[in-house]
Amino acid sequence: MANVFWLSCPACSRRFYAEITMLKIKTKFHCPFCDHYFEKTDLKEEEVEKWQKI
């Protein structure tokens, strides 16, 4: 399994993980808990900070 990173859904705040290569491409994310689709830009500031460290 490729390296993963955790992220929080901006709608329901629950956490799940995704393959790290999703950071390098233009894609949406899909929350498995509330079915919300969102962009990287929808994430909370602290999540973006975590990504920048990866």
């Binding site: 399994m1 390296n3 799940f16 993980y17 995704a18 491409i25 994310f29 498995p32």
Partner: protein, 469 residues
């Protein structure tokens, strides 16, 4: 009557009724069937379960679902034509041998195909009519978990080489799913279409004989049709029928419960997963291809088959992979005895292999042949006196016959499994080989034993009340 899931269920009920359970009460496909199976698992009950009243994705009751079809080796032995007690080495050896006798399928008319009793095309298709199971908490949605047929546009003569393998497919909307493919045969087939900007035809086979699914988990050479292999394992030619979407250019199993025909769209990716995988971890969300569903054909009273992935319902995986390793090792070491891919190693990462060593070096030949299969991370080679299906015995051999400095090796950088949580961004992994065989050319200690004469003479029932045991 052709072999199919129903013929197997009848056989199972006749030969091993305790391995079959029916649930009459209404139950939801949304986590509820999984919760019930988990309760059974916690009690070490791995019966095949026929849920008789499952709610589909529209909330309509009355759908039948089978789970745990392949959750015991006893079931697999029955499906291979053996007695339930012949479920260890006899089973692997029989299926591995059968795989060499490929049988060409027969093509039947639509009228003779049970799976064509109901035909739904294009706008009539609605995946919500099916009781597609949502298994684990972090799963991104309900998932189809059954085998997928694909066909390369140019491999082989007509009717071509049909490839069958397992791929998770996430429900997205009534006519669309996501799909995940490891970079093996189906992926190669998809890429051959995508490179020409064409959709790749696929068919999901929901509900067939267990040996059909074992063939989907074997890895024959790419020029072998897994339809021929399925016939070999079922010991009768697989019956095929023209698909609704592509006609005779793409054939589907006539005796399935349900066939879902679709196209993997080129150059389109959407988020797919997380999904609880056979590794017992969630596979991460990925950007994966999308499937447009074109048709569903089924029996009037179709039984939906779900694989309770990540649990014991993996013996169709284990057996297919085990037989693949068995045949590869036997080519390298003809004195191979048995191969076991234990559940503790996710049925795919560890292999215990017993051989009758006739020349030095054979254990390493056996291990290297096993590693050509691809997923293995640990191979333990033992002598013929060790039962590879008895994990304690295997590790006793490691404890007492191995000096690590001489009998342990690491092979680095071979292709591994994309679903292994410990692997990096590539699919390369390292594999550990343990040669736990006794030295070939010098005396070795003898295992303890009780004289056979006394074991025969001293009968347990003469000394102990067996009812209290």
């Amino acid at each position: 009557m052709a072999k199919d899931m129903r013929s197997f269920l009848s056989e199972l009920r006749a030969k091993k009724p305790e391995n079959y359970l029916e649930v009459e009460k209404e139950i939801n496909a949304h986590f509820e069937t999984s919760a019930l199976l988990k309760h059974l698992e916690d009690r070490k009950i791995f019966s095949t379960v026929m849920f008789k009243n499952v709610l589909n994705l529209k909330g309509t009751a009355g759908n039948r679902v089978v789970s745990n079809l392949t959750a015991t080796r006893e079931n697999m032995a029955i499906s291979a034509g053996l007695s339930p007690s012949q479920c260890r080495g006899e089973l692997t050896r029989k299926v591995a041998a059968a795989a060499k006798n490929l049988l060409t399928p027969v093509i039947v008319s639509k009228e003779a195909a049970p799976v064509k009793e109901v035909i739904l095309k294009e706008e009539e298709v609605d995946l919500r009519d099916l009781p597609i199971i949502r298994h684990h908490e972090m799963d991104a949605g309900p998932y189809l978990t059954m085998a997928v047929v694909a066909k390369h546009p140019s491999w082989g003569a007509a009717p071509g080489i049909h490839n069958v393998s397992f791929h998770r497919m996430q429900y997205r909307n009534p006519r669309e799913t996501g799909i995940h493919m490891s970079p093996i045969h189906t992926w190669q087939i998809f890429k051959s279409y995508e490179d020409k900007d064409l959709p790749c035809p696929i068919a999901v086979v929901v509900g067939h004989h267990p040996m059909f699914y074992v063939s989907a988990n074997m890895n024959p050479p790419i020029d072998v049709s897994e339809y021929d292999l399925a016939g070999a394992l079922m010991n009768e030619p697989l019956r095929l029928v023209a698909s609704e979407t592509w006609g005779n250019d793409f054939l589907v199993p006539a005796d399935a419960e349900i066939i879902i025909e679709g196209e993997i769209l080129p150059k389109q990716r959407e988020p797919e997963a997380p999904f609880g995988e056979w590794t017992r971890y969630y596979g991460p969300q990925r950007s994966n291809p999308v499937v447009k569903i074109r048709a569903i054909t089924k029996r009037h009273d179709a039984i939906y088959l779900d694989n309770f992935i990540g649990h014991r319902d993996m013996d169709c995986l284990t057996l297919g992979w085990e037989c693949t390793v068995f045949n590869r090792v036997r080519e390298a070491v003809p004195t191979l005895i048995d191969v076991c891919l234990p559940y503790s190693g996710c049925c795919g990462y560890h292999a215990y292999i017993s051989i009758k060593k006739t020349v030095p070096g054979q254990p390493i030949n056996a291990a290297l042949a096993a590693l050509t299969w691809g997923f293995l991370k640990l191979v333990v080679i033992v002598d013929e006196d060790i039962d590879v299906f008895d994990e304690e015995a295997v590790w006793w051999a490691v404890a007492t016959r191995v000096q690590a400095g001489q009998q342990v090796q690491i092979v680095k950088g071979i292709r591994g499994s994309i679903l292994d949580p410990s692997i990096g961004e590539t699919v390369e992994h390292d594999a550990l080989i343990i040669d736990a065989t006794k030295p070939f050319d010098k005396p070795f200690a003898c295992p303890i034993n009780i004289p056979e004469e006394y074991l025969t003479r001293v009968k347990l029932e003469d000394y102990v009340n067996l009812k209290v045991l």
